[in-house]
Symmetry: C2
DNA sequence: CGATTCATTGAGCTCACTCAACCTTTGTGG
DNA sequence: CCACAAAGGTTGAGTGAGCTCAATGAATCG
């Protein structure tokens, strides 16, 4: 997933998005002059709808296009030979999908819509071309990729050092921050994924998530009722996650 | 860490390295004409030695330069507020360090030499500049970044779905493949890191690694004696890792 | 409104963790 | 070159966090 939290430059991007209602700006146009923006817009394929449960692309398929999420919510999953599924991330409005496929030109994960969603396709080679004319675009795209590296490592850090409560807390804080950045409430939001998906993402079992939910409630940190989330004590939550709160978990 | 296994294009890169003894070629010059290679060489700062135990850069420092490893072996680590250390990867000859810092222009991890090593500095903005003239260079650098994303996700998959034996087996197979690619034996090599580092990287404890070592020996899959590794049954090892053998764990 | 998928809670188990003792290798100064 | 200190590695015993299995309740959807 592409994360936007934390980097000042990316907050800027988001602001430009909010005013112009243009997803690709959010993702890529940092520092671009208006001429560049026009060209970037022309490079996008028409909007494409993806119904809940449908996949945008599947593991193993050839990379045809990157995608910028215009609205909706996705999960990305990797499947082992034996059919075990591992959720590798959740993506929301304004984030990019498919960058893992640049390496081999084949998708290493599948992207599945968790709600009815709308995406723009972004042609990678055209993007490269345009990046040559507008260095800021090129650099910004690289930042997005670097963000993914940083995020993955942070998740690894989490898996290596946190217990189940802390992982769930970190997960909620991450969502909270991303919602806040989009102008939504950071303390009251709706989960779009199943417990099982959360569990897979955090390297735990669904039952363990349920118990962690109960514990966060007992500690008066967060109330989860089904998919509704109410963060009761944001600072307390951050505190509970200890050394991770500053980082983009 | 930058990984080279698996992608056909990167194997090609490596071949050019073997003949020309030029690390940056290994990392970046895929598809570059000779003029480009010359310019790329000129962009590299002089070789820099890093003694065993010393750090090449530290978490939090400003990004000054990316590095291509000319010889030696590194680990990258992230440290939490409380001082817990998590190993995020191991890098060897011909791999790149520092790409996680492109996002925020600050290093999110520290790189520590596990043996006396030599690196080249590669200036990022100059690299960008040159990338504009040589699209293949640009694209190749992106592939390296995408590789890191894919690798991180694969490690996540491992953490989420494998037990201790399988993780150690996957780890050994990964090293094996990377050594093979460099012309070294894939079944007999030396570990440059402590058990504790392996444990941290795999999300386990040092004692658990020791017991996993014993079990792999009992299964006649691999003999580890101290830091010497002898893979007894490469196919068996791959089999043991099941669905992961095809992937670049 | 019945079926199916998703979520919660309990009971018992297991794999990896902790703590601890001991062994082996590496490095250093006399 | 040896001796000894320090760091790293191995093995055992007991514990515990998260897993499995199972039963039941809640939400979602034709």
């Amino acid at each position: 997933m592409t994360h936007i939290l934390g980097s000042a430059s990316e907050s800027q991007m988001f602001r430009s998005y909010v005013t112009n209602d243009n997803v690709v700006e959010l993702c890529l146009t940092l520092g671009l002059c208006s001429e560049g923006i026009t060209q970037l817009n022309s490079l996008m394929t028409p909007r494409k709808g993806v119904k809940k449960g449908e996949s945008l692309f599947n593991q193993g398929e050839r990379l045809e296009s990157l995608y910028a999420i215009r609205s909706g919510f996705f999960k990305t999953t990797m499947t082992t030979k034996e059919g075990k599924e591992q959720v590798s991330g959740f993506q929301m409005m304004g984030e990019m999908l498919g960058m893992d496929a640049i390496s081999t030109e084949h998708h290493t994960s599948s992207a599945i819509a968790l709600v009815d969603s709308v995406v723009y396709g972004v042609d990678f080679s055209q993007l490269q071309q345009l990046g040559r004319e507008f260095p800021a675009l090129q650099r910004n795209f690289m930042k997005l990729m670097s963000d993914e590296i940083v995020h993955s490592r942070t998740v690894l850090l989490m898996m290596g050092t946190m217990n189940s409560d802390e992982r769930l807390a970190a997960f909620l804080l991450n969502l909270s921050g991303r919602f806040a950045l989009r102008g939504y409430s950071p303390i009251s939001f709706i989960l779009r994924m199943r417990r099982e998906d959360i569990a897979s993402y955090l390297g735990l079992r669904m039952e363990t998530i349920c118990r962690a939910v109960t514990r966060l409630r007992e500690m008066s940190l967060a109330n989860l009722s089904g998919r509704d989330v109410e963060i009761v004590n944001l600072l307390g939550l951050k505190d509970h996650v200890a050394g991770f709160s500053r980082q983009r978990v």
